[in-house]
Symmetry: C2
Subunit: 219 residues, 2 copies
């Protein structure tokens, strides 16, 4: 005999919140445009055409909304980067793919990315640390590829990999701030930057010996 399965259970589906994606996107847009502290909940409500107080049906606080936006700003990033870094290919090839994949979300999620990059510092300490792990993981993915390149002799042996990572990410992250104004496709940016950076870290053709590239393990 089946016990009546709580038709109106408190444990039933928490809350559908059908429009939540739409609400978070509006928040992302407003935060990206005006900055977290420069934006008001009223601004977000205006974008959606609802009342300011109605927003609190969807998020518990303004800071909560920021966290949701930031989470979507890094979402998946790190996993993809890690997969590329530990996957097959030359270091130069991997670096190129890392850059491409790092920039690709800008085509359709630039607001989320911008908020993550520029506003995450205003998160309460706890969630900031939680999200900070993603960032550091990403840096490590890049750095491991650079180190691999150095080890294999593809890249300059005196390369400061830490500085190079910071430089590469600086260059790449800045794209979020101008790519709408400049009229240019992300793929073109990725390609140009990848080429520039790979050439920048590559070992110069000083040694006329063909040894290094051929020296890779196996074969």
């Amino acid at each position: 005999m089946t016990v009546v399965t709580l038709p109106s259970s408190r444990r039933s589906r928490p809350s559908p919140r059908r429009r939540e994606p739409e609400i978070i996107e509006a928040a992302a847009r407003v935060f990206a445009e005006r900055g977290f502290h420069g934006a008001t909940t009223q601004d977000i409500a205006d974008v959606l055409g609802i009342r300011q107080a109605s927003l609190y049906y969807y998020f518990p606080s303004k800071e909560g909304a920021l966290e949701l936006v930031c989470l979507q700003g890094v979402g998946g990033f790190f996993e993809v980067a890690k997969a590329i870094a530990s996957g097959p290919g030359t270091a130069a090839d991997k670096l190129t793919r890392l850059i491409k994949s790092h920039l690709s979300p800008l085509t359709d999620r630039s607001d989320f990315v911008r908020v993550f990059l520029n506003e995450r510092q205003h998160l309460p300490p706890e969630s900031r640390r939680r999200i900070g792990k993603w960032s550091r993981g990403l840096e490590q993915a890049f750095e491991s590829v650079l180190k691999e390149g150095v080890r294999r002799g593809e890249f300059r042996s005196d390369l400061d990999t830490r500085l190079a990572v910071l430089g590469i990410l600086g260059m790449a992250n800045a794209v979020a701030n101008w790519y709408r104004a400049e009229e240019v496709a992300i793929d073109r940016v990725s390609a140009e930057f990848a080429r520039l950076l790979v050439a920048g870290v590559a070992k110069r053709p000083k040694p006329r010996r063909r040894s290094i590239a051929a020296r890779r393990s196996g074969r």
Copy 2:
């Protein structure tokens, strides 16, 4: 500094606002740390050990303070860059010097630079445009050097100079955000970045000998 008293002038401007530099520096520090909208005038007053209302003896509004900080954040930059760009030397050499001079203010004025880079968007439209001219001038200095390099055959002929400028400035400007946390001297950063970027834009191998990498680029 003791003021030399002007003999017979009631129009003399005695010594107005002696502490102004100190006040603006405090504002820069607070704006850099918390962002313009995240900072309160009370925060600035706390740094100085004076009352919040007393600040209005030195600036007319919070936005006015931001403008003063931003002005000092770009101060002189552009002139120096222009001088380098139109001066003597190879393009690679000039690019190196541009990067060095672009990063050098970070040693002692990083707060001002950070505020200029991150908060200038919150200026009222008028002063933002006024300050925006400085930025564009700087971009042009970099771009003219890149174009010169291409023209002279130092740099790749298919280099997208606009994207390269944006990339270079992105890489360089990001330094302001991490160089305190990372323990590294600015000179080292300049040197590493300059080397990386010059190699990145340079025409591949000096075509004196056949090299392995040569067949990659155009032929």
